[in-house]
Symmetry: C2
Subunit: 454 residues, 2 copies
């Protein structure tokens, strides 16, 4: 597995060769034995027509699995092109949560096409799922789990698992419920396998179960998985009835998605679920222009500050040369602090009760960084750049030091404040911090200059 | 599970009450029934003395599991304080990879204490693990997996799993090897459970196995998990022999760690594995000051550009007011582009072969964003700020537009270039891009001003 991309390319070239050579039987056999995720990737390289051709070479169960790995565009094209009967086959074979994932993004006509090809029971379930808020535990969960009873023996439980196992998302964690579907306990398949045949499920199960509610946020769900290293988590409704489970492989996607959102927000981009290359130029502009405008207008504050000190600049034009180096360094120092605090808040390493500790820490870090930078700058300007008088060197160095301290402090406080008022801390990152720091750093710079230079 | 922190606090308060009340038997019982991850969290609230007391109330197997969830400081304190015999008990019960995780960070005297309390075989294994490079597949893997033979029947395989199951990291994916330990195939426990009793493992197993090498990077390993949604992945040595497996719960940690590193690097912080609150002020400064210095010195370029145009600024002092708004907007526009490209590269959504597509896209996004921002700024300066003449309004707006286009282009090219020369693309983010854009934007600004204003 030294280079995944290269291996994939060889695989795809082989398929294409078989297709072009008319060796359809061979192609069909190879496709149906390949990893579904790889075939889904192959679809992205094909024309619409060839996608359909290849799709029809897949056996029913493979087709459903490949479908669940495809991106939205390909899925939509396939559903659009195939017959009602083929739609029914896929939906029958797919896990419900994958069907729902597709329907959540699909245009109305395709949703209709899918729904009219499902039986009434499934249709009702799908509708219930579509009603769960986006990013809630309910929208993540699957209903294909193994349900056991407390009074079953291990032998009975294992034969039940054997009977239903192939249609379940996981059989490795089983759930014990009563007649009212209330969740009583959890039992890993490992416990069943290693137990005596005539032990009772009720005696073996873990009855102190941690579960989430259908409306809980996916970020909270992800945090539980990270803390306990579990493979699955039960989801209950308000009456404590078990309605679904969430498996760890979906959590990996949630973590990636939440992180991408944070990174976008931290760089003044409105978050989006779509892949970069799949987004149109207009979509990209739409996600970027709001913050660019807001920050640009806020940047007027700096222009205003500079305008206020026009007469100072007039008499010492040289001062203008060092404005950007001071604002830039301040902005960088602030970005560092805010990024670490934002990440700490997201990972749960930093809690609201740590506010004082964080601010005190950043204050000390700021003072130390400020001192070092001021000294480095002083040395640079004094010994390597003889064009400026000593009092300007001193003004620039001092302002830089103070700007760094202020930037570090602001950089750690703003994300925590944002969290306190239920805003996303990731908003309070580099771009916003820099814009605020710019104006403040300039006031500091000109104030010091007024004393030292004039 | 509405508020995990609150529930934990109630749990911890209960333990503390039992401890203070001397109800040790009750405390012992409750501790041994609780989730190990929660007890490990409780340790972080305790004094060193109480940590030891509580630890000794735990049964051997619970103690080992709780230990594996503790942070490094607590682990070190515990190992320091307990007897050799207790050390032996923990190491016996722990999975090898957890022992290795602890040893990797522990000071030499504790490593010695642990190693002298393990038998020769384990010691040899531990030493081999400690030699795998950090962040390699070898350093992530565990050796506690289930090994089957191709000629076993399902019944035989299941009884083998039952025999060894409790000591394995996972039993849900089993591995088939030959006498030379060469990996022949993979078989999920589900397949075994649902198969006929007298089928042969060799007929049921998946023989087209994707595996990784001990020296492969953990990021690559994580990408495979993300693509295939697997629960475990086999690790082979250079001779194709199966030496270990990696489970998905470790991958969740890898993903978090890689993301944190990217975020730190994207904000000009040298990456570190430690939690923010656990890092000393000096450690934080050490990770931040190098980039701050490099960027500050690079910022001299801007000062140089401004110095070059001193006579222009001299005659039109007003121009200095708008320098930061132009450099700021350019920096923000560049950060947006670089962040999305860096993330796309990390997730594999963007490949090297997409370079042209990306640049062409960002060029169009840049032109559109630049036009909009220039217009908004023109309107703002013309209608809401009457202090500047028309040719200055026009200069600022035009420069802003051009700066945005250049920033977007640079912002997407630099991360790709970095990747091409095997540097981490995350380095080419906001702070660095802004510093480069600052100088370029100023050249643009003063050049346009020379034409339009002078």
């Amino acid at each position: 597995m030294s280079d995944m991309n290269e291996e994939m390319q060889i695989l795809f070239d082989n398929y294409t060769a078989l297709m072009d050579g008319g060796q359809y039987l061979q192609l069909k056999q190879e496709l149906n034995e390949e990893q579904p995720a790889n075939i889904a990737e192959y679809f992205e390289e094909l024309t619409a027509e060839k996608q359909l051709f290849i799709f029809r070479l897949l056996s029913k169960d493979v087709a459903a699995e490949v479908f669940s790995y495809m991106d939205n565009d390909t899925q939509e094209h396939i559903v659009q092109s195939i017959t009602d009967r083929e739609v029914r086959n896929i939906v029958d074979e797919m896990f419900l949560d994958d069907t729902v994932d597709f329907l959540e993004e699909a245009p109305a006509n395709l949703v209709k096409k899918v729904l009219r090809n499902t039986d009434a029971g499934t249709r009702q379930l799908i509708n219930r799922f579509l009603n769960y808020p986006e990013n809630s535990a309910g929208s993540l969960m699957t209903i294909e789990f193994v349900r056991l009873r407390a009074n079953m023996t291990v032998t009975k439980a294992l034969s039940e698992i054997k009977r239903v196992g192939m249609d379940k998302e996981t059989i490795y964690t089983c759930y014990v419920t009563d007649a009212q579907r209330k969740l009583l306990g959890v039992i890993p398949l490992r416990t069943l396998i290693c137990a005596e045949d005539d032990s009772l499920v009720g005696d073996l199960m873990e009855d102190d179960v941690i579960s989430v509610h259908t409306l809980d946020d996916q970020e909270e769900v992800a945090n539980i998985f990270k803390k306990y290293n579990w493979m699955a988590l039960p989801v209950t409704d308000t009456e404590g009835r078990l309605v679904g489970i969430i498996t760890v492989d979906d959590i990996v996607d949630v973590i990636e998605q939440e992180t991408t959102e944070d990174m976008e927000l931290m760089n003044a981009v409105l978050p989006s679920d779509d892949e970069y290359l799949k987004m149109s130029v207009f979509a990209l502009v739409k996600n970027r222009i709001p913050w660019l405008c807001v920050l640009m207008i806020s940047g007027t504050l700096s222009a205003f500050v500079i305008g206020m000190y026009q007469s100072l600049l007039d008499s010492v034009v040289m001062l203008s040369s060092f404005m950007t180096i001071i604002t830039g360094t301040g902005g960088n120092a602030g970005s560092q602090a805010s990024a670490m605090v934002i990440r700490g808040l997201a990972l749960g390493d930093i809690q609201m009760r740590d506010t004082f500790k964080v601010v005190f820490k950043e204050l000390r870090v700021g003072i130390l960084c400020g001192l070092i930078l001021a000294m480095v700058n002083m040395i640079r300007m004094t010994f390597f750049d003889h064009s400026t008088p000593f009092n300007i060197d001193l003004t620039v160095s001092l302002s830089m030091g103070v700007a760094v301290v202020l930037a570090k402090t602001l950089g750690c406080i703003l994300p925590i404040l944002a969290k306190a008022v239920k805003l996303d801390p990731a908003m309070m990152a580099g771009p916003l911090i820099s814009t605020v720091v710019d104006a403040i750093a300039l006031v500091v710079y000109f104030s010091i200059a007024t004393v030292l230079v004039l």
